[in-house]
């Protein structure tokens, strides 16, 4: 059963976990859009502002109901407690996307709403998903791959439009792809390809890799191996870190020895997706080499270090809303809600099938603060996107790197391309 649990967000809004929280339009969305607590910074009285917005409406009023659905996961313990994963990771991205949509919708006569449902790890996912699908046919999902697949395969989910904003697993886009499922989160392969392009463009092609023991670590490690093969780099040796010692205290003793027998290399790759040991690698290996992958120079859907292409405005809007930097899952959820908004604006419909066709078609493009228009791959529903590679302090590069060419889109140099796809659900 879904256990209703109540938490309070930083902005004072109460959220019922396991229950729907409805964010009515347009007043609340405007609050979000204009900065909470300041409502509308209009010298006129509020009703005048709203009247101005309403008067500008040009199209038939339509209602677009989007649902944000999250399955909480038990997070494995990690060495440091300094970087807790925010409880509202992902959800705040959807909320910001809704505020952006609502502002545009105010001029178009399009009314957007967002319900937010967070299911506890021990809750009944299928039941919660059915309840959400009964209310909304457009879903943004933050859950592990298995749960997303369960959701997409529900009879109630057929004909719905579901966005995967969290799972990076390749199979979800390939053998297990579903026609009702699009992906705004890049796959492990896309992230690994982005990093490998950067390393190859710097001619740092001799690599070694340290991998953690959890499934995401192994999945990312495999993606890095594939990327090395694809772009002509060489992983000369690999080791698995067994987490048996406390890296906070012993790294200076443990790690030089652990890495002493590595062959000479340019860069050390770390596949440690929970950030358990990777943050401690730099400056402790036998050879003084930079770290990349899960720590060091890290490829991701988003980094709070991205600043160009108008990103500074998005970062600021997010920080005002959530009181923290924007993460990759936030970005993916934001991009999903914005994709819906863009498609509604251009087509004037809220029908999920029509929106899906438009989003997967040639006309669709979304300005998404990474320097190139966002589009979707018609063969598996994956969102095409540049991938920032960043350290904790600065942006390193924005992939694809110059010189990695493609006959259709240079963004398709990252991840599985059309000729290689195993997905048949989109034919």
């Amino acid at each position: 059963m879904v256990e209703p649990k109540e938490t309070k967000a930083r902005d004072g809004t109460k959220y019922d976990h396991g229950r729907s929280f409805h964010r009515p339009n347009p007043r609340d969305s405007l609050d979000a859009a204009f900065g909470r607590g300041q409502a509308i910074r209009c010298i006129h009285a509020l009703p005048v502002c709203l009247a101005a917005l309403a008067a500008a409406a040009v199209a038939e009023p339509i209602n677009v109901a989007i649902a944000y659905l999250e399955l909480q996961v038990e997070r494995p313990p990690v060495l440091t407690n300094l970087d807790p994963i925010p409880d509202d990771l992902g959800r705040m991205g959807a909320v910001l996307g809704l505020a952006d949509n609502a502002t545009t919708g105010g001029f178009m006569g399009h009314d957007y709403s967002l319900t937010e449902t967070v299911v506890p790890a021990e809750g009944d996912w299928s039941e919660a998903a059915r309840a959400v699908l009964a209310e909304s046919r457009i879903l943004v999902v933050n859950a592990p791959a298995k749960a997303i697949l369960t959701l997409a395969d529900l009879p109630e989910a057929q004909g719905a439009l579901i966005f995967n904003a969290s799972a990076e697993d390749e199979t979800l886009r390939e053998a297990d792809c579903r026609a009702n499922l699009l992906h705004t989160m890049p796959s492990y392969a896309m992230r690994a390809d982005a990093l490998m392009q950067f390393l190859v463009s710097r001619r740092w092609t001799d690599l070694v890799m340290i991998t953690g023991q959890r499934d995401p670590d192994r999945a990312f490690a495999q993606a890095l191996r594939d990327a090395a093969t694809k772009f002509g780099a060489r992983i000369r040796a690999e080791k698995e870190w067994d987490m048996s010692s406390d890296m906070r205290r012993n790294i200076g003793q443990e790690f030089p020895l652990f890495t002493q027998d590595f062959p000479s290399h340019h860069v050390m790759l770390a596949a440690d997706e929970t950030n358990d040991f990777a943050p401690y690698l730099e400056f402790h290996a036998w050879e003084p080499r930079p770290v990349a992958g899960s720590a060091g120079a890290r490829p991701d859907a988003w980094s709070d270090r991205v600043e160009a292409y108008g990103a500074a405005q998005l970062q600021l809007r997010f920080k005002r809303l959530a009181d923290r930097p924007m993460g990759a899952v936030d970005y993916a959820a934001w991009a999903a809600v914005r994709s819906v908004g863009e498609a509604v604006t251009r087509t004037g419909t809220a029908d999920p099938a029509d929106l899906r066709d438009y989003i997967l078609g040639d006309e669709f493009e979304l300005a998404a603060f990474k320097g190139a228009a966002i589009t979707y791959r018609g063969w598996n529903g994956q969102m095409r996107q540049p991938i920032p590679i960043a350290t904790r302090t600065a942006l390193v590069a924005m992939a694809p790197m110059p010189g990695f060419l493609h006959q259709v889109s240079t963004l398709d140099t990252m991840g599985r391309d059309r000729p290689e796809t195993e997905c048949t659900a989109f034919d």
Partner: protein, 324 residues
């Protein structure tokens, strides 16, 4: 002997030259400075310290002062054109990015990019007289020559908002391509032109019917379509040409505005952003954000003639004619 003759000529030239030569002022977003380029010599003759994150830059219609958006200081700075002194700061609303000056030389329409607001500033009374809610991330600003219509483009909402300058209300919205950056009216006010950075096109609207007359697209051999990102542009007074900065394509396009055909592309510095045109329309000065320089294009010869190093991330540019 020869040297003496040359210097004597130079001295004569100096004495007979008009009190003020032509200049181009360039705002450097990451240096908090304005670079002043002397047009006859095409050299930077002065660098002024200004407020934080200077972007939008323009002169008053009588060229007595320059107005500058000091975005991160949330103010419009007023700079004496002759003495280069900052005279005072004007209220602007939060984070002003760009603006346009009404033909009355008194009201400035400002984009407050983080607040989804267009503010109207009275420079005489030094106060904001109206704030108009617009779409997300307002950017491009234009006012028609009759002074009746103000345009705001919203980068995330992807619209040009048509604002009545009398009532300060939006009376129409035109959807355009993604991330509209800049807007201009033709000199007869009959057409409105809007650039869409991510959309990659230049949209032309009829100002009577709001109908879209054309979308001008750009194609450059060996440059990927997603690198062609139109940002700033200038229209000639006779309405026959548009010069369009294409961002990371590192080119300025020359467009025939009669039949909306692209005539040629000029190679300039990296990530070309905005531009200023000389009053005789013979020279174009482009701000190249990433390479930190200004490319001078000779429009008569039809080629770039010089690159001038300025500050970091040059953003806006404004032309000051001779004798002003």
């Amino acid at each position: 002997m020869l040297a003496r003759t040359v210097s004597a000529i130079a001295l004569t030239a100096l004495m007979t030259a008009p009190a003020v030569a032509q200049e181009v002022w360039v705002s450097n977003e990451r240096d908090n400075t304005i670079s002043i380029i002397d047009v006859p010599s095409l050299e930077v003759i002065e660098t002024i310290q200004v407020g934080a994150r200077p972007r939008g830059l323009m002169f008053s219609h009588d060229y007595k002062v320059a107005y500058l958006c000091a975005s991160d200081d949330s103010t419009i700075q007023v700079i004496d054109t002759a003495t280069r002194e900052i005279l005072h700061n004007l209220p602007s609303g939060e984070n002003p990015e760009t603006f346009a000056l009404h033909p009355d030389n008194r009201h400035i329409y400002i984009s407050n990019e983080d607040d989804n607001i267009t503010s109207v500033l009275d420079v005489v009374d030094r106060r904001i007289v109206a704030q108009i809610p617009v779409g997300v991330e307002p950017e491009g600003k234009a006012i028609n020559h009759a002074g009746t219509i103000a345009i705001t483009t919203s980068e995330t909402t992807n619209m040009a908002h048509w604002i009545d300058t009398t009532t300060h209300e939006i009376f129409h919205n035109s959807l355009v391509g993604s991330r509209p950056r800049h807007a201009e009216f033709t000199s007869d006010d009959k057409r409105l032109v809007v650039s869409a950075e991510i959309g990659g096109g230049l949209h032309v609207f009829d100002t009577e019917t709001f109908e879209e007359l054309a979308e001008i697209r750009f194609e450059i051999p060996d440059v990927h379509a997603h690198d062609i990102q139109p940002v700033g542009f200038r229209l000639t007074d006779d309405m026959t040409r548009a010069y369009v900065a294409l961002g990371p394509a590192n080119r300025v396009a020359v467009v025939d505005m009669q039949n909306y055909e692209v005539l040629e592309y000029h190679l300039v510095g990296r990530r070309v952003w905005h531009m200023a045109m000389s009053d005789d329309e013979t020279k174009l000065f482009t701000t190249n954000g990433v390479s930190g320089d200004v490319t001078v294009i000779d429009l008569v010869r039809g080629e770039p003639v010089k690159t001038i190093k300025v500050g970091r991330f040059p953003w806006g540019a404004a032309y000051r004619p001779a004798g002003s």
